[in-house]
Amino acid sequence: MNGFLRRMKALIHKEFLQLSRDSSSLLLGIALPIALILIIGYGISLDIRNIPTAVVLEDASPKAQDVVSFVNGSAYFSPTYVTSFREAEAMLLNRDVRVIIDVPPDFTSKLATGEATLRVVLDGVEAATAMSTQGYIESAVSSWLLRQPGAGSGARIALESRMWYNDANSSTWFFLPGLIMIIVTIIGIMLTAIVMAREWERGTFESLFVTPVRPMELVLAKIVPYFCVALLGVFICLFLSRFLFEVPVVGSLAVLLGLTMIYLMVALGIGLVISTVTKSQFLACQSSMLVSFLPSVVLSGFVFDLRSTPVVVQIIGNVLPFSHYLTCLRSLFLSGTNAGLLLKQGGLLLLYGVFFIGAAFTMTRKKVE
């Protein structure tokens, strides 16, 4: 057996032994995904209740009244009827209502030709709530349309729409892909940063260095086991989202796994770089929290749509790799395999991966100064 393979086998074997002895690493890889998915899956809900709504009936026909009747007696809305759009606008500005549903004067007449429109104005301050609200309105209107005689014969109502694919109007569906991104990020970055920094801190690297082992082998031997642990976490997430929250994967599962592996290399690379710089577990833990957890939650579009943030934040969000992976995941989960988008984002992720792993290789030297 050649030296490289023999040493890799020994180092990886060692890594797995340590993993099996030290439950904290495995906990991070297995318990953390489960805990996060349960907390976020059940705990964070942007589903709405009793949204103050202004309804403007500029067309007073029965059809016009009927199309917005879903707000009456609904748990989601508490409506106020006003007569002019100006009045409704004033209420929105005063934050007395969060949404305006406006039925224009020509609604009934245009309905027959299929050109009817409903204007929906949402309070964009709480972007996530607004998006959910919009979804409710959309589905209520389309189901009303289906109930009309002659449904399916080309009749339609135009609505400005942004929540394209979240059919169930469930924010859990919206969040789960992001959750997988966060879990992969945390496991990838934090776990590797800590285990590598531990070796520096305990002085075990110092004696490993004075053996025929090459720096690249040390780095590779860290990547392989934690790649497996993180992948395990991903499978748990996928399993739970499919069977507990019944989130579908519309796109190709194979593509999803492939992209996840590429992204994992990015996360592992970042973790390795952090530990090589800090060389202490405490610092590695702190910096990986700072570099992974916060930006992946806040600056990735996980909660707040990046498009609705200031330009500076958008730029930062786009420079960091998190949002690119999230875009892929959302697309694969909810809309399908969009080859063009995935190729572009996947290619970007690959570049990130090459950059960080390459940095880890060049920065790990068999030196203690």
Binding site: K14, L208, V368
Partner: protein, 583 residues
């Protein structure tokens, strides 16, 4: 073929500090190591020993000069050097969550030891190290001595062309230390191994063929142990203190007389001292009619003479006159601390097992033992920092279970690590401690003035505590701990990691404090420091093995005049013979 295994010529290593300052870790060092045999580097902490070893191992780049190892340049050839040598760093470099066997397998795999030769080699190593019964035990669960032997076994999975050992025995019990050196000597004999070892223990350096003495990065001397012994030859004497007087009193009188005496230490119940060059006798001894017997000089004597010659900035001596020493308090019969059947468990691990002892007022009481013996745990329970699992504890007449806060008012505590505020000045630190002990303003000024005089801090008052030299840091720690004039002073490992001169100075201060009536409890892993104590107890693996005055314990063992390492080994062997030795 290159004649030397290691050859350093004018080797320099400079480390950058903050604010553009630098520190010279090695200054133009010339050092050679020949094929076969043991070479030691001795020197106090900060001498540059570890830096040199890391340079040899190719783990650092020299700033200047040339270093060749196995005929290869230490920078260009680092990869090949690392393949051919073995190195045990100070922390042993073991994976604590792997077993003994797994650690050895890992290193054997990395070094490419063929499967055919492995069983025989492992058998030999495990048997020699006494680890054959523990192959399935996690390295983290081994005692300090066993860890050290496992570390050595991992470096010897194949016969390296050069073995580097960086302070392999710090804090390890004397028995394990002796065993380790037996093993090393055997390998040197059987495999013509070349070994370079850093050590702070003179009796270990004495076993080596060549000894290099480093101090603050500079080479003070080198030669065979006999060459170094010869430096102090003809100037070493031993004298016996008057009956009933603690050894440290006579030692203090001698070490204070810097005009005539270079160094004095208590040893085997007597005081061992070195006269200055050209001096015939010590006036104090002549005046008191104490006879001085000439003795052979040992390696430590030579080392101390060299250090004194090299050290320009010596801490100011303690000079409160002979009165305090001679008329000062002696230990009384009054009990200051009572410990009965003390037990401390962490989960299923017993850190301290059924320990009982008493400390008398005005006594210097030592807690001795290797790392992991249970000293610090016992200590923390005495200070009320850690609750006992069971047993009775009373400090200065106060039951610790009932009134911990009240007991604390009577004690001062100096932690092992420097635990003052590094970015405050000496004065600020003193003011702060006077404040937290709640001294009224007038009293506060008085006490600060007193401790400043007592610990010679006058000229350093406006210096930031973090910038103080090591010896002064310790003085400041003690000054702060004594601010409220406690009856009892606790010192946790005050002498670990400080150089021999500062250690002498420290003990000299303890002698003064004790003479003024303070009870002192001190932990140390330097066995020989038991000689300064009125009484001491030895712990190992959580159990108390012996307690008593140094002379009493010697008498019990029938080893008059033996040094403390021998005493410890005799006690452990006795305990093992009774079948209750460490597992």
């Amino acid at each position: 073929m290159e004649e030397y295994i290691i050859r350093a010529e004018q080797l320099n290593k400079v480390f950058p500090l903050k604010k553009g300052q630098t520190v010279e870790a090695l200054k133009s060092l010339d050092l050679t190591v020949k094929q076969g045999g043991l070479t030691a580097i001795i020197g106090p902490d900060g001498a540059g020993k570890t830096t040199f070893m890391r340079l040899v191992a190719g783990l650092m780049r020299p700033t200047g000069g040339r270093l060749t190892v196995l005929g290869l340049d230490s920078v260009q050839g680092a990869g090949e050097i690392q393949t051919r040598i073995s190195y045990m760093p100070q922390k042993f470099g073991l994976y604590e969550d792997l077993t003994v066997q797994e650690n050895m397998d890992l290193y054997a795999d990395l070094h490419g030891v063929p499967a055919q030769t492995r069983p025989a080699r492992f058998d030999k190593l495990l048997t020699m190290m006494g680890l054959e019964r523990f192959t399935g035990r996690l390295a983290g669960k081994l005692s300090g001595g066993m860890k050290q032997k496992l570390g050595l076994a991992c470096t010897l999975v194949r016969s390296p062309e050069l073995l580097l050992l960086d302070e392999p025995t710090v804090g390890v019990d004397p028995l394990s230390r002796r065993e380790l050196w037996e093993i090393l000597k055997e390998f040197v004999r059987d495999e013509n191994l070349t070994v370079l070892v850093n050590t702070a223990y003179m009796n270990e350096a004495a076993l080596c063929g060549q000894v290099y003495v480093l101090h603050k990065g500079a080479l003070l001397a080198h030669g065979t142990p006999d060459d170094l012994r010869a430096i102090a030859a003809g100037r070493c004497y031993s004298c016996t203190p008057p009956p009933g007087e603690p050894t440290r009193i006579l030692q203090a009188h001698l070490i204070d007389d810097t005009d005539h005496v270079v160094d004095a230490v208590p040893k085997g119940g007597d005081v061992h001292f070195i006269l200055q060059e050209g001096v015939a006798s010590a006036p104090y001894l002549d005046a008191h009619g104490i006879a001085a017997r000439p003795v052979a000089s040992d390696l430590e004597d030579g080392f101390m003479v060299l250090l004194h010659r090299a050290e320009t900035e010596i801490l100011p001596p303690v000079e409160e006159g002979d009165d305090v020493l001679d008329k000062g308090g002696r230990p009384t019969d009054k009990v200051s601390i009572t410990v009965r059947d003390l037990v401390k468990k962490f989960g299923d691990f017993t850190a301290v097992a059924h320990t009982s002892f008493e400390v008398h007022e005005g006594e210097v009481f030592g807690l001795l033992g290797p790392n992991g013996a249970g000293k610090t745990t016992t200590f923390k329970m005495l200070c009320g920092l850690l609750p006992a699992t069971s047993g009775f504890l009373s400090v200065a007449g106060v039951d610790l279970h009932v009134a911990r806060t009240q007991a604390r008012a009577n004690v001062g505590y100096v932690a092992q690590k420097f635990s003052l505020y590094g970015n405050l000045t000496v004065r600020d630190n003193l003011e702060f401690f006077a404040g937290i002990y709640g001294l009224p303003p007038k009293r506060r000024r008085e006490r600060i003035g007193q401790v400043v005089r007592e610990f010679f801090l006058e000229d350093r008052l406006d210096m930031r505590a973090g910038d103080l030299p090591g010896g002064y840091k310790q003085r400041l720690s003690m000054a702060c701990a004594l601010m409220h004039e406690p009856k009892i002073l606790f010192l946790d490992e005050p002498t670990s990691g400080i150089d021999p001169l500062t250690r002498r100075n420290f003990w000299r201060q303890i002698t003064s404090l004790a003479a003024k009536g303070t009870t002192i409890i001190i932990t140390t892993h330097f066995m020989e420091e038991a000689e300064y104590c009125d009484r001491f107890m030895i712990q190992d693996n959580g159990r108390m093995l012996a307690i008593g005055a140094p002379s009493e314990i010697r008498r019990q063992l029938g080893r008059e005049g033996a040094d403390m390492d021998d005493i410890f080994m005799a006690i452990v062997e006795q305990a093992r013979a009774k079948g209750e030795g460490p597992a």
